[in-house]
């Protein structure tokens, strides 16, 4: 996994973590000793951009540090934030690894029907194909009217203007702006299977 223990202890020192693993005896980490050894967290210098932790709904403020080449080099708690006053929990403190991560994919991957492998594809090709599939699926499965129960044991024909053939499931760590755009587009297409982690 290529983890430098010294590195991870520095960042996570002084915060809850490792307890259960230690209790299981899996890691053999003496958390108290590690915390004592880790000392102060060095803060990298560079341009500082205010941000918000991408994980939970506490909404801790973060400062993203960018070096001269425009590369994100550090993400720390924002001391100005009245919510967290500079502190972060282990997830918030690990945010940098969400950005800089060898396993992160930065190209489009495509799996053809029946295939057993991914292929790399251009973004533009994928967007065209997705738009085409969306239109095709919608147009072939669009309902202008549907018979609905009339409450008296019979049915009544209602205009529903929807499609049941497309579904959308979103996460709840995605911007308000995305939520707005996405519900707008889905409603314009007639998509009613529109769901989000927010239900859970």
């Amino acid at each position: 996994m290529g983890i430098s223990r010294r590195k991870f202890l520095k960042v996570t020192s002084g915060i809850v973590g490792g307890g259960v693993a230690a209790e299981l005896g899996i890691l053999n980490v003496d958390t108290a000793a590690a915390a004592a050894k880790a000392g102060k967290v060095p803060i990298k210098s560079g341009r500082q951009i205010p941000s918000i932790c991408p994980y939970c709904a506490v909404g801790c403020g973060q400062i993203v540090t960018v070096d001269d080449a425009g590369v994100i080099v550090d993400i720390q708690g924002n001391p100005d934030s009245p919510i967290n006053q500079g502190t972060l929990c282990p997830k918030g403190a690990a945010t940098l690894q969400l950005v800089k991560n060898e396993q992160r994919w930065s190209t489009v991957k495509y799996r053809a029907p029946g295939s057993d492998r991914w292929e790399e594809k251009p973004l533009d090709w994928a967007m065209s194909r997705i738009a085409e599939l969306t239109k095709k699926t919608r147009d072939a499965n669009f309902n202008e009217f549907q018979d609905m129960p009339d409450g008296k044991g019979g049915t009544i024909r209602k205009r529903v203007m929807n499609t049941y053939a497309i579904a959308s499931l979103g996460g709840a760590t995605m911007d308000n702006e995305w939520n707005y755009l996405h519900q707008k587009l889905m409603h314009a297409l007639g998509v009613v299977y529109l769901e989000n982690q927010a239900r859970i």
Binding site: M1, I3, V16, V20, A21, L24, I26, I49, P50, C56, A57, V58, G59, V71, I72, D80, P82, T87, C89, P90, K91, T95, V99, R104, S106, T107, K109, R111, G114, S115, W118, P122, A126, A131, T134, K135, M148, R159, I166, A167, A172, T173, M174, D175, N176, E177, W178, N179, L181, Q183, L185, H187, L189, G190, Y193, L194, E195, Q197, A198, R199
Partner: protein, 848 residues
């Protein structure tokens, strides 16, 4: 209760800890497991998962029969003025006492309620209102009900307080012992501490998380807490309230600006083929009719402005603002039925963005198998999630049950930008919008989520541009222009990101004529002259170029200049209740807003003299009330919204202006919380003959088999939960080396007693089995978990964190393979917090 705040919302937990160390607050944790939260609290009371309503109902019973509550005038003043305790209910209403566990109105098949008997007694309807308010408002004025009847002495047997007294009389400390499994002394300590710390000088808060929501009675558990807080005078006041600790960075935003099937943005309901929603007028009258005497009396403005936002110039009064072209729902299209319908082949195409149902979904195995039935699926994420790779290496593929060659799903993986790589806003669990700025471009072809949806929309609009088919009117006429200004994208490699500012401005709202942002939702109109995506967010962009979500001036208390709390920068909702019936703060210690009779209201009377008196907030807090309505003012009967509400109607979103101890409408499973056992329970219901929520959402289909009551094959209770170091299905944590190393492997918390019975060794493997699936985990034998003795019967409980899957750096079995799809009838949330299972020592398939 229902929360492990220290581990799941760790940084927020600093604040209750500070209240304890600096202000002597008492912290109490009522939760099945002893966690780090319990360790930091003064009191921990373990209760069996799913018994919360018994515990809360018994506190209500304790409170309303206590001397303090009956003698201290504070409670009476709060409850009579601000709650519906004094309101008279339909004499035909029958509760669980009369009907042995159900309420009047249950359909003959026992699967749904008609709520006609839960209604208020009312005075005659008022004469017709004056009109001239607007085309839809004038119609609402014609159908107003009479004011509810009340008995301010609260002695009438049909008044809400008396109904509650009867309803909770059987919720005694002895019952708590039998159902919850804690001692009567432990219970009484909690009840008495809540009571003693609530009043004029002090407030008490109840905090919960998904430990309360993920039940077949989830909504009713939270309601029970809200009732208790209303009875104790703990709502609308600093330090009071019921605080939901939500799990994701903007899960609140995803609810407010709903990407949820049942809701339009800002809590307007989705047009529904099952209701009288045949035209915009029908939609507004059906939805707003019952609410028109609350602030929801402005529903016509919200709805028309939403349709204007949707269809722009194409939305006109003549075409009902495009209403006919907007889709209608026709049933429950929420997550669980969505996946079942997908499994049945009804759904062909699927967008999965930032979620991982292959791990996170209930009965996850069934959800994965549903993915194999799709024609196409688009996944947007950072890493190759289990959902993205289901066709390649899921347990079903590895076992040979499914073969890649047989899976026809065309899968696209589109890489996503990280939060630090895009500009936008999140709404946290306090309803606070906070802006994050863009620090760098995302790598390669990674793009923001907004980019994806925006460009998909642009491409589709181009494809439909020449369509003359009226079915395509909606997408053709969608107002879809969020092109960035040159300066917004100048620093970046990626030049075609949509303008986050323009999106937020539309959410905020603006006037059609000049495109100027609306400073407040009071400026919205129902005549098509305003555009507004989500009225509750109005004020976040109060003027051109100003983004209140990006305000970053903290202070020592409410920090009104840090971000933007919807609505209208009000941090504590219903804060009219922070002052007494005369508008004076209840106490100096709990001062928040107050009525200043001498202040210039900014308005003039008919003879041109300035009108004195307005609500003020020394802290800078937004006032959640009509700013110039004097406490003694009596609302008009033939009026909508604020005009109907009186000076003591603090709960401005309720049609009667009161906090609802009894819910005459809005819930499908009863007007009062009653204890039902979880759908899968080791015991019979000791409170009523009715075993479980009669109207719970149940899906009896292949692969979603339920266990029986006290099923001998599955005698153990299991709760699923989270740990600090991982996030939900793990897509944002299991790939991170630091977090993966901190919490590398799935484990199962087991009590020493259960371990001894089953021969389970600490750190050894265990296999957990349900009718849905089988998983293995390492055993964590710990005294943090204890068996419960319920009326002489020993019941074991185990705990399983559910973050793991087969991808990433930290791998483990999918815990949600164990759970069933069963849900709360109000909101279709699942019951992942409690179901039954069996456990044995050793690995899956008999390995050791």
């Amino acid at each position: 209760m229902g929360s492990n705040m220290a581990e799941c919302h760790p940084v927020a937990f600093r604040w209750p800890l500070k209240a304890k160390t600096d202000h002597g607050a008492v912290l109490m944790h009522v939760d099945p497991r002893f966690t780090r939260t319990s360790a930091a609290c003064d009191v921990h009371v373990p209760i069996r998962a799913g018994s919360d309503i018994v515990f809360l109902g018994a506190i209500i019973n304790h409170v309303i029969n206590s001397r303090r509550w009956n003698e201290d005038p504070f409670y009476r003043e709060f409850v009579v003025n601000y709650t519906n305790a004094a309101t008279l209910v339909n004499p035909d209403f029958k509760g669980t006492e009369e009907l042995d566990g159900v309420f009047s109105g249950l359909a003959p098949d026992g699967k749904s309620y008609a709520n006609a008997t839960w209604s208020y007694q009312r005075n005659p309807a008022p004469g017709k209102g004056k009109g001239g308010l607007g085309p839809f408002s004038d119609l609402l004025l014609q159908q107003l009900p009479g004011r509810p009847k009340t008995d301010p002495t609260m002695q009438d047997p049909h008044c809400v307080l008396q109904i509650i007294k009867r309803h909770y009389a059987r919720y005694t400390p002895a019952l708590v012992e039998k159902v919850c499994g804690c001692s009567a002394e432990q219970f009484t300590k909690v009840a008495q501490t809540m009571l003693e710390n609530s009043g004029r000088e002090k407030t008490a808060n109840i905090t919960y998380a998904v430990g309360w929501t993920q039940h077949t009675v989830g909504v009713q558990i939270i309601r029970a807490a809200a009732m208790l807080q209303a009875l104790l005078g703990n709502i609308g006041r600093p330090g009071g309230g019921v605080l939901a600790l939500r799990g994701h960075a903007t899960i609140q935003g995803s609810t407010d600006i709903a990407t949820l099937y049942h809701s339009l943005p800002a809590y307007l309901n989705m047009p529904d083929g099952r209701k009288k929603h045949d035209s915009l007028k029908d939609f507004i009258l059906t939805e707003a009719g019952p609410l028109a005497t609350s602030y929801w009396g402005n529903y016509p403005k919200f709805a028309v402005s939403y349709f204007k936002a949707q269809f722009g110039a194409a939305a006109t009064a003549e075409n009902d603002y495009g209403y006919d072209y907007h889709p209608k729902i026709t049933g429950d299209h929420s997550h669980m039925p969505m996946m079942l319908d997908m499994g049945a082949g009804k759904i062909k195409g699927f967008f999965v963005m930032g979620q991982n149902p292959a791990v996170g979904g209930q009965n996850a195995r069934l959800q994965r198998k549903a993915l194999a039935k799709l024609d196409w699926m688009v996944v947007r994420d950072y890493f190759e999630t289990e959902t993205a790779s289901f066709w390649r290496n899921s347990p079903e593929i590895l076992s040979g049950e499914l073969k890649p060659a047989d899976i026809k799903t065309e899968v696209f993986f589109l890489p996503a930008a990280a939060v630090a790589e895009m500009e936008g806003s999140f709404t946290n669990t306090q309803r606070l919008l906070q802006q994050h700025d863009k620090a760098a471009d995302p790598p390669g072809d990674a793009r923001s989520d907004s980019w994806f949806t925006y460009h998909l929309g642009k491409r589709l609009q181009a494809m439909y541009r020449d369509s003359a088919n009226p079915l395509d009117w909606g997408i053709k006429n969608l107002a879809w222009d969020y092109e960035p200004e040159a300066k917004e994208v100048a620093p970046w490699r990626i030049k075609d990101e949509p303008s986050a500012y323009r999106v937020l401005k539309e959410i905020n709202g603006y006037t059609v004529a000049d495109g100027k942002p609306l400073a407040t939702f009071a400026n919205l109109k129902e005549d098509g002259t305003t555009v507004c995506g989500a009225w509750i967010y109005t004020g976040v962009v109060p003027e051109e170029g100003k983004n209140n979500a990006a305000r970053r001036k903290p202070d020592e208390w409410i920090s009104p200049n840090w971000g933007f709390a919807w609505p209208a920068n009000r941090h504590i909702m219903y804060n009219r209740a922070s002052a007494d019936s005369q508008g004076r703060p209840w106490s100096e210690a709990k001062k928040l807003i107050l009525w200043d009779p001498d202040a210039d209201s900014g308005t003039k009377d008919l003879s041109g003299n300035p009108v004195r008196g307005k609500w003020v907030a020394p802290s800078g807090e937004g006032i959640d009330f009509q700013p110039t309505k004097a406490p003694a003012m009596v609302g008009k009967d033939a009026a909508l919204g604020f005009d109907w509400l009186s000076g003591n109607d603090a709960f401005i979103m309720r049609a009667d202006g009161k906090a609802w101890l009894f819910a005459p409408a809005g819930l499908v499973d009863g007007p009062l919380p009653a204890h039902y056992e979880p759908y899968e329970s080791p015991v019979a219901n000791r409170v009523y003959r009715q075993q479980s929520n009669p109207v719970a959402k149940v899906w009896r289909t292949e692969g979603n088999v339920y266990h029986g009551v006290a099923d001998p094959k599955y005698p153990i209770v299991v709760s699923t939960y989270r740990v600090t170091e991982h996030h939900l299905s793990g897509t944002m944590s299991r790939w991170l080396p630091w977090l993966a190393e901190l919490m590398p492997e799935l484990f199962c918390e087991v009590s020493p007693e259960l371990a001894a019975e089953k021969g389970i060794r600490n750190a050894g493997y265990v296999t957990i089995v349900t009718a849905r699936g089988e998983i293995e985990a390492r055993a964590l034998v710990t005294r943090r978990i204890k068996p419960f003795v319920l009326d002489g019967k020993k019941v074991h409980e185990i705990g399983l964190p559910w973050h793991w899957g087969w991808q990433g750096n930290a791998k483990g079995d999918v815990v949600n393979d164990l759970s069933a799809m069963v849900g709360d009838p109000n909101v279709s949330i699942h019951e992942g917090k409690v179901f039954t299972c069996d456990i044995r020592a050793g690995r899956k398939g008999g390995r050791s």
